[in-house]
């Protein structure tokens, strides 16, 4: 892009950092409304049981209790996109997070005390906690609300995709690797626990929800459907969101429950999860088992991939069951591959249910694929860098699934991390470090992810309204949402760049569905791309509105106008006029118009067809990581030394925010690789706290080196692509490959705990 950029590409501190670092930012925990009650939810004591009786009378008579509800007291629709999830469970519970009653009281203590007074009689039943058991034909049906889409009653969702001639490619393959990979259940661990404040007004029948949703307009529709209300009578105000990472893509039972409590009481009700509740009753990443066979010909070119995936869906369905949409892209299109057969089945079990989590299935898929690539390289006797470079994606490639790579930094990213680490260690040769105890290794992994939205919902667009006031300040009203990732700042940078005004003159409004224009939500790493393009479109409309008056005032042609430094300048005559002066001229003189414009941007991507083929995203992001580890063969401890990240981000918009996304993503990937696992046994969550669920701390952070690859996609704002999910996706795969390289064992599951490392070493000897 030849344009001389003043703001884009330069480090910009987060415009909303001040209020966050001083504690002024109002999270859901900080919302206080007059006359507000406190809600609490009673969950089942046993994961699988019949509820024989439920007596709330003692709870109801506790002073301070305003309302107690059970399934018998409400008239609601089931939730989740498969409508298989009742908000409050009646007669039967299916997993340990199941909600069976809820209370609103004048204090948190009274609400919790009331829960203790609810008397429940259970008949404990046998559960099915292994998806391979529940998928068996004679297994009892787990979820009673399925729609009959599949003959097998315990299948929640099945996806099949294929391209190329599998048998032909198999025959061509000189090398074939078949492995089973098992990926664990991990959870988001947002630092702010789930929360909502509901305020129903009896007088006007309107419901206001202070919510943490990351998809406010879909959420408004979902809440309305659940409560049988008119969507437009529900106003969603997004509080400051204390971490999202995909966890707020679905609406969960606690949200309509809180709304119902408020409706019943006619008072505001606030419901906040404890940390234990957060671990038990918020979604997880899908635990998955991959059976993957991949092949290569004698030159090392990939020939085919054949994969069967079983996803543990848990007791109810969420958007997470559609993660195969993303996974099939990785198997069909990451590295060129002539034939692919993909089959995934999400299976109901009596476990807590999985949701969407940054990367949306891709960390799991990438782990399986990249592990197999290392094993193929070993079989062939080829370098692990070499085999990846040979098969990498390229610009102009139209993949067999129909993804169009107008720009593609895959090879550049690989070359970057390979050249940086070459010489440090040669895979499959003796370690430079001769120590018997400590073994070093390097692992590589790449990733492909949507980088320009993902066309799944009827619209993948975002609206922007820009309002210039008579003093030259701008209010930027965007449909998109800030969940900490820095979208407010990037959007303000774009508007400031284009309008030539200081970023401090821009106010971003993005939290209120009554005000902001429609947007599909924060997901699929889409906000900078889609909302950014939307801001660009709106600024252009605004400039078109302002320019004729400015041209007259400057006695020049519209084409000669330039917006810079708060001025409109004629490049021909050099004459200039302050922007606010022109705004006032438009408003207070002549036609008396306001400088307000609205623009809606819809990406040019298309829907996938019935075979899941089609160019579903505006553009695609690529990345490669090279990770160096040191394994202590006495303790099994894995120390990650250096993480090299090269990522095709299209164009750097805000280097400061970008680095934060990379580092944050990589460290989440580090936790996924080495320490995190939500342990669920017989339906019970065994480690619902930070003491036993090990998040990485500051002490665990390795050196992270980031190399942005700028491919400048013509469809992205200034050439930019989506960034947010990518850095997490290949990290666990690269770490596992590095550990395997260091000690010469197979790593087929996560997390790579010291126990697993020691066991692998012992089995090798």
């Amino acid at each position: 892009m030849s344009k001389d950029l003043k703001i884009i590409g330069k480090p910009q501190i987060k415009i909303d950092a001040n209020i966050r670092v001083t504690g002024e930012a109002r999270f859901g925990h900080d919302v206080q409304l007059p006359n507000m009650l406190y809600g609490a939810i009673l969950r089942t004591k046993y994961p699988v049981a019949d509820i024989l009786s439920l007596d709330t009378s003692k709870a109801k008579s506790l002073p301070g209790v305003k309302c107690v509800i059970t399934a018998n007291d409400i008239d609601t629709e089931n939730i989740s996109y498969r409508r298989d999830h009742p908000i409050l469970k009646k007669n039967k519970v299916n997993c340990i997070r199941d909600e069976i009653a809820a209370v609103a009281a004048t204090s948190k203590e009274i609400a919790l005390k009331a829960l203790e007074l609810i008397e429940v009689e259970y008949k404990i039943n046998e559960g099915i906690f292994d998806p391979f058991e529940s998928i068996k034909k004679d297994s009892p049906q787990i979820n009673d609300f399925i729609d009959g889409k599949y003959e097998n009653k315990n299948i929640a969702e099945n996806f099949h995709y294929e391209h190329g001639n599998l048998e032909e490619e198999k025959a061509k393959s000189k090398f074939i690797v078949t492995e089973r990979y098992t990926l664990p259940r991990v959870t988001h661990c947002c630092m702010a626990t789930s929360n909502i404040t509901a305020d129903y007004s009896k007088t006007d029948g309107k419901l206001t929800l202070w919510s943490t949703t990351q998809v406010p307009f879909l959420y408004q529709r979902d809440i309305a459907r659940a409560l049988k209300m008119e969507p437009s009578n529900i106003r969603i105000i997004q509080v400051v969101i204390g971490g999202g990472f995909g966890s707020k893509l679905d609406m969960y039972p606690y949200e309509p429950i809180c709304a119902i409590l408020s409706i019943k009481c006619g008072q505001p009700v606030q419901l906040i999860f404890s940390r234990e509740e957060e671990f038990i009753a918020s979604p997880t990443r899908q635990p998955m088992v991959f059976d993957l066979t991949t092949g290569a010909d004698e030159s090392g070119r990939f020939t085919f991939r054949d994969v069967k995936i079983i996803l543990d869906n848990g007791a109810y369905t969420s958007w997470g069951a559609t993660t195969p949409f993303v996974m099939m892209q990785t198997f069909s299109s990451l590295y060129h591959c002539p034939a692919c057969n993909f089959d995934s089945t999400a299976v109901y079990t009596n476990n807590i249910y999985a949701g969407s989590f940054r990367g949306y299935g891709n960390p799991q898929a990438t782990f399986a694929l990249e592990r197999n690539i290392d094993l193929l390289a070993e079989q062939i006797g080829m370098g692990k860098a070499e085999i990846r470079l040979l098969n990498s994606n390229y610009q102009g490639e139209v993949t067999n699934q129909g993804l169009i790579f107008n720009t593609c930094g895959h090879k550049d990213a690989l070359e970057k991390v390979i050249s940086i680490t070459s010489g440090n260690n040669k895979p499959n040769t003796d370690n430079k470090n001769k120590s018997k105890r400590y073994k070093r290794g390097i692992g590589y992994a790449s990733m492909l992810h949507v980088g320009g939205g993902a066309k799944i919902y009827p619209s993948d667009g975002c609206g922007t309204t820009l309002k210039l006031d008579p003093f030259g300040y701008m209010t930027l009203i965007t449909g998109s949402s800030e969940i900490g990732q820095g979208s407010e700042t990037v959007l303000a940078m774009i508007a400031a760049e284009e309008l030539g005004i200081d970023i401090s003159k821009i106010k971003v409004i993005n939290t209120d569905t009554d005000i902001k224009p429609w947007d599909v939500g924060v997901h699929a790493s889409r906000t900078s791309f889609v909302a950014g393009n939307s801001v660009l479109g709106a600024v252009n409309k605004l400039k078109e509105k302002i320019s004729p008056t400015a041209a007259i005032m400057l006695k020049t042609n519209i084409e000669d106008l330039k917006f810079e430094n708060g001025q409109i300048v004629s490049v021909k005559t050099g004459a200039s006029i302050a922007l606010d002066k022109v705004i006032r001229a438009i408003h207070f003189k002549g036609n008396h118009e306001l400088c307000i414009e609205t623009y809606f941007y819809e990406p040019s991507s298309e829907f996938a067809d019935k075979e899941f083929k089609g160019n579903v995203s505006g553009t695609y992001a690529f990345a490669a990581q090279a990770i160096e580890v040191e394994v202590d063969t006495y303790t099994g401890n894995v120390k990650v030394l250096d993480i090299h990240v090269a990522q095709d981000i299209g164009k750097v918009l805000n280097p400061l925010g970008l680095a934060g996304q990379i580092e944050g993503g990589v460290v989440q990937g580090l936790g996924y690789a080495l320490t995190e696992e939500l342990i669920v046994e017989n339906g019970y969550v065994l480690n619902p706290n930070f003491h036993n669920y090990k998040l990485p701390t500051a002490m665990d952070v390795p050196r992270i080196h980031f190399y942005p690859i700028e491919t400048e996609d013509s469809l992205g704002p200034y050439g930019a692509k989506g960034v947010g999910e990518a850095p997490l996706i290949p990290t666990a795969a690269a770490i596992a490959n590095a550990v395997a390289d260091a000690i010469g064992v197979k790593i087929n599951s996560l997390p790579v705990t010291p126990e697993k490392v020691l066991r692998a070493i012992a089995e090798k000897c």
Binding site: V21, I110, G242, G243, S274, G484, V666, H691, A698, V701
Partner: protein
Amino acid sequence: MYVKNSLPSSTEMQEISFTVNGSKIIVVIPQNLLLIDLIRDVLNLKGTKPGCGEGECGACTVLINGKASISCLYLAINIDGKDLTTIEGLSLTEKPLDFVQEKMIEHGAVQCGFCSPGMVMSIKAFQIECESNPYISRDSQAIKKAIEGNLCRCTGYVKIIEAAEDLLSAKF
């Protein structure tokens, strides 16, 4: 004065006096009240964040007599006679941001911000410690150690560590 909300309870009330963010204060509170609840619900200072209630995440870190303390594991009556600083206490009208906060912002160390107040207080406590003892190590390892009790899910800690390194190198 604070009266605990009508829950029938045998908890006895106790009067305590202490300094909060520079002001002396006397409150009558139940003996089993936790410091975090005193701060958030009685004093209505919402900057101190409740992240886990189990002393594991550090979001509720405050300074008690200049030392970092986890307010969710601290009985409020024990603050009697002590000097409490919450995140609000670092902001003065004439200087709304402490140096710690300025460095955090400058280095991009803030994303969602829920852990930020606790993180700021832990770094502040380490800064105070460094000021009182010139021989204390303030390299990145020491900084990591100082904030290892503060969990952050967004940033990967890198920028937070950089901010603290910058702060502590500039001061001495």
